[in-house]
């Protein structure tokens, strides 16, 4: 669908030379702002005839900030981890045809030189379907989106009957990417069949899972794709209004979506009689004040209505949603898939994935890996492929111990099960969930009990407090884990944790409580020995749990610099300059400051 001329226009721009600088939340944090300014300066000072072009992020966060230079006749080259002082040099060399410093090129024109993207590990295993435009186009330009085939999907959809649109999604087999994997067409069909003159469609961009940011990345890098999907959804169910629900903590995402809505309205993709059809539809961006539970669909609706807590389903939002009207809620990525399916045709979509779950999914790989980032792979890809091939495996000298999948309500999959093919069902049967697709890699420097404690305290803090099992039960679980990590628990407590966890999971009102015990249950399932070690030997094998570790001075390394004695707030360290220092365990409060302060690495945790 993207013709060669269009692609060239996008790649090289009207002046035949485009320098792409990614401007999105994550690249800005890595210093892309300075890079952007510097590139503009260099281009002006040296009179380079190039267009400095703002794009979204590719998801290759490990090489932020990156820039891409593309001049007609030369392969577009991507430079990772650039520093401002290198830029002049890079631009000069590239202009002269010397690509040797590039991390990769988009495609090769000859032999030799830097590898093409399809040859490098972090790209090779990906199938960039919804994220095709990320890092390629200017997210704030509707024209660029149209150039890549944008809003063609909407045109096609508007030529069809509503039932036909739903039928297309049905044959595609698209399932919700927001967590539960509910068939999208079914949701639409139920809402479509409701007799009601007012219906709503909502794009769920709350994304509260810490460790997952694919929705933010997609909406910041290609907001029109999400919007197009939402308009199609609106048409299919017969809605008159759409709402994009975004957190105030992610302001750039909200700004870009707002800009997209405005531009689309100007060009007649929104408003009355869209593209001369008789379909009227408008969209508003809603900035939420941020609470994890608001990602849950009934809580999200309640939040828009000015209340804040989930309610028992049924009735489901598709029949009884916002202000009591039929409402379809879809995830950002689901909607982007909808738009892309209509643009490329169903055949392109169903090529990938498994029998039960078609298509691709974006996964965020973070934590203890070499190449953190967002990778789009077919559903059913092995965990191994994501963690080791794409993300490069563990950091030097460490060993991957487990992968936490699905955010705070997901579970930990141990390293032995890395061959598992990730789809909704298989993950669930192993105690995790797909969730929004965040993978946090845990290595041997992390303690699994501490990890469970972390997630439990997260869900406890995020519990809305409406129903009893989640509100009180999670408090007990959290206290229990606190006792475990302080070495004060008994083996009986572990049994209680198991029983209580199961009870909370089964009897809570919403899925937050329903999944909140997952981290503790799954770590109990695969890492029970670590729990037992904390109880029986009062020892933390990974040396993380503060109350169970001791700090000691390695006499071979200590040079008597007195740094540690000076930072110690309680005066537990003694020793005169030049002599090996000693820690008095009766006084030490295990704050760990000496460990940070020692310039010779002589303080050790034992």
């Amino acid at each position: 669908m993207l013709t060669q001329t269009s692609l060239n226009r996008i790649l090289y721009g009207s002046r035949g030379f485009r320098i792409r600088v990614p401007i999105s939340s994550c690249t800005l944090a890595a210093g892309a702002g300075e890079v952007y300014r510097k590139v503009i300066k260099v281009v002006e000072e040296h009179g380079v005839d190039a267009e400095v072009y703002r794009v979204g992020c590719t998801g290759l966060c490990f090489m932020d900030p990156w820039i891409e230079l593309a001049r007609e006749g030369l392969p577009p080259a991507i430079y990772g981890n650039v520093k401002t002082e290198q830029i002049e040099h890079i631009i000069k060399n590239y202009s002269e045809g010397d690509l040797s410093e590039a991390t990769a090129v988009r495609f090769k024109t000859g032999s030799g030189g830097p590898p093409a993207l399809e040859e490098v590990d972090f790209w090779r295993y990906q199938v960039r379907y919804v994220s095709r435009n990320c890092g390629l186009v200017d997210p704030e330009s509707i024209y660029d989106y149209i150039e890549t085939g944008g809003y063609l999907g909407l045109k096609k959809a508007l030529y069809m009957k509503q039932e036909e649109v739903i039928e297309v999604i049905k044959t595609s087999g698209l399932r919700g990417r927001g967590g539960a994997g509910f068939p999208t067409w079914l949701k639409w069909k139920i809402a479509y069949e409701q007799k009601n003159d007012v219906k709503y469609v909502i794009c769920n961009g709350d994304e509260g899972d810490p460790g997952a940011f694919m929705n933010r990345l997609l909406a910041e890098s290609d907001p029109h794709r999400v919007l197009e999907g939402l308009i199609i959804a609106g048409y299919a169910v017969g809605a008159t209004r759409g709402i994009i629900f975004v957190r105030a903590e992610k302001p750039l995402m909200a700004d870009r979506l707002e800009k997209a809505v405005e531009d689309a309205r100007k060009l007649g993709f929104l408003g009355k009689n869209i593209l001369s059809s008789n379909f009227n539809f408008d969209v508003e961006v809603y900035r939420s004040a941020g609470a994890f539970v608001c990602g849950e669909e009934t809580a999200l609706i309640a939040a828009i209505e000015g209340r804040s807590r989930p309610r028992q389903r049924p009735p489901y939002p598709a029949t009884h949603g916002l202000w009591g009207r039929p409402t379809v809620i879809n995830n950002v990525e689901t909607l982007a898939h909808v738009a892309t399916i209509f643009q490329t045709g169903v055949e392109e979509f169903v090529k990938h994935g498994t029998e039960k779950s078609r298509g691709t999914k974006m996964f965020c790989v973070t934590g203890a890996v070499k190449r953190t980032g967002v990778y789009e792979v077919p559903i059913g890809t092995k965990i191994k492929t994501l963690v080791f091939d794409l993300a490069g495996g563990s950091i030097e000298g460490r060993k991957v111990k487990a992968v936490q999948i699905g955010g705070p309500s997901g579970g930990c999959i141990p390293a032995e099960l890395m061959d598992l093919e990730m789809d909704y069902e298989s993950l669930q049967s192993y105690g995790a969930i797909m969730g929004s697709g965040g993978l946090v890699v845990i290595d041997d420097s992390n303690c699994m009990v501490d990890v469970a404690k972390f997630f439990t305290s997260f869900t406890l803090a995020e519990s809305c407090g409406k129903c009893l099992p989640c509100r009180v039960g999670m408090r007990h679980l959290s206290d229990l884990l606190e006792r475990l990590t302080s070495g004060e628990a008994s083996l009986e407590d572990i049994e209680v944790a198991q029983e209580l966890g199961e009870s909370i999971a089964r009897s809570s009102l919403c899925a937050l409580g329903g999944t909140a015990p997952n981290p503790i249950l799954s770590t109990l399932r695969y890492f029970k020995d670590e729990y037992v070690e904390h109880v029986v030997n009062r020892r933390c094998p990974a040396k993380v749990c503060a109350k169970l570790v001791k700090y000691s001075v390695d006499p071979a390394l200590c040079r008597g610099c007195t740094q540690c004695a000076r930072v110690c707030q309680v005066g537990a360290i003694s020793g005169s300059p030049g002599e090996v220092h000693r820690i008095n365990y009766d006084i030490c409060i295990k704050c760990g400051q000496c460990l940070i302060a020692c310039p010779f690495g002589a303080i050790k945790k034992v």
Binding site: C26, G208, P210, G211, F213, E249, G290, G306, I442, C591
Partner: protein
């Protein structure tokens, strides 16, 4: 504590007339008020409850439910240390402790005595690949910086830099 001599009740009046007496706009109204005062003064909440005709407890319910809202005055710069999963596993707690110590905060206080800095925990900013991350916001919302790949040392530098910046 208020900036200038703004009267919370007047400000609420303006904001409410902008959004209308619509209960459904409660979150936006509070957001707007917080933009003005950097936090939600008690009087403003009382005024909102009167104007919208919802009980004060309900307004407080919403104000305490969302992370964005603050009921206490804050420092000039707020340092949010991310306690999301990726950041936590990469040592956010050590960074947080280092920042608190060098800001001189103890006993559960979160704002320094000179009123320049506030240190708080936050949830994921979506920059997990740069973990551990801290976001610094000026309390009027005009400046926003994200700092990635922090260490305890970098945390201490951060406090130093923003403290001198706040003094300016």
């Amino acid at each position: 504590m208020y900036r200038g001599r703004l009267n919370p009740r007047e400000v609420v009046g303006e904001v409410v007339s902008k959004y209308g007496c619509d209960r459904g706009r409660l979150v936006q109204i509070l957001q707007e008020i917080q933009k003005t005062f950097r936090y939600l003064p008690r009087e403003s909440l009382e005024e909102v409850s009167e104007k919208l005709g919802v009980s004060l407890s309900e307004v407080l319910n919403v104000a305490t439910f969302y992370h964005q809202f603050r009921l206490e005055p804050v420092g000039r710069y707020i340092i949010y240390v991310c306690f999301g999963t990726a950041c936590y596993l990469r040592g956010a707690s050590e960074v947080y402790e280092a920042i608190r110590r060098s800001a001189g905060l103890s006993n559960g206080r979160s704002t320094t005595e000179d009123g320049l800095l506030t240190v708080e925990k936050a949830r994921c900013f979506g920059c997990c690949s740069l973990a551990p991350v801290a976001m610094v916001l000026s309390s009027d919302g005009s400046e926003r910086y994200v700092h990635g790949k922090l260490t305890p040392q970098a945390g201490r530098r951060l406090v130093f830099n923003y403290r001198s910046k706040a003094r300016e």
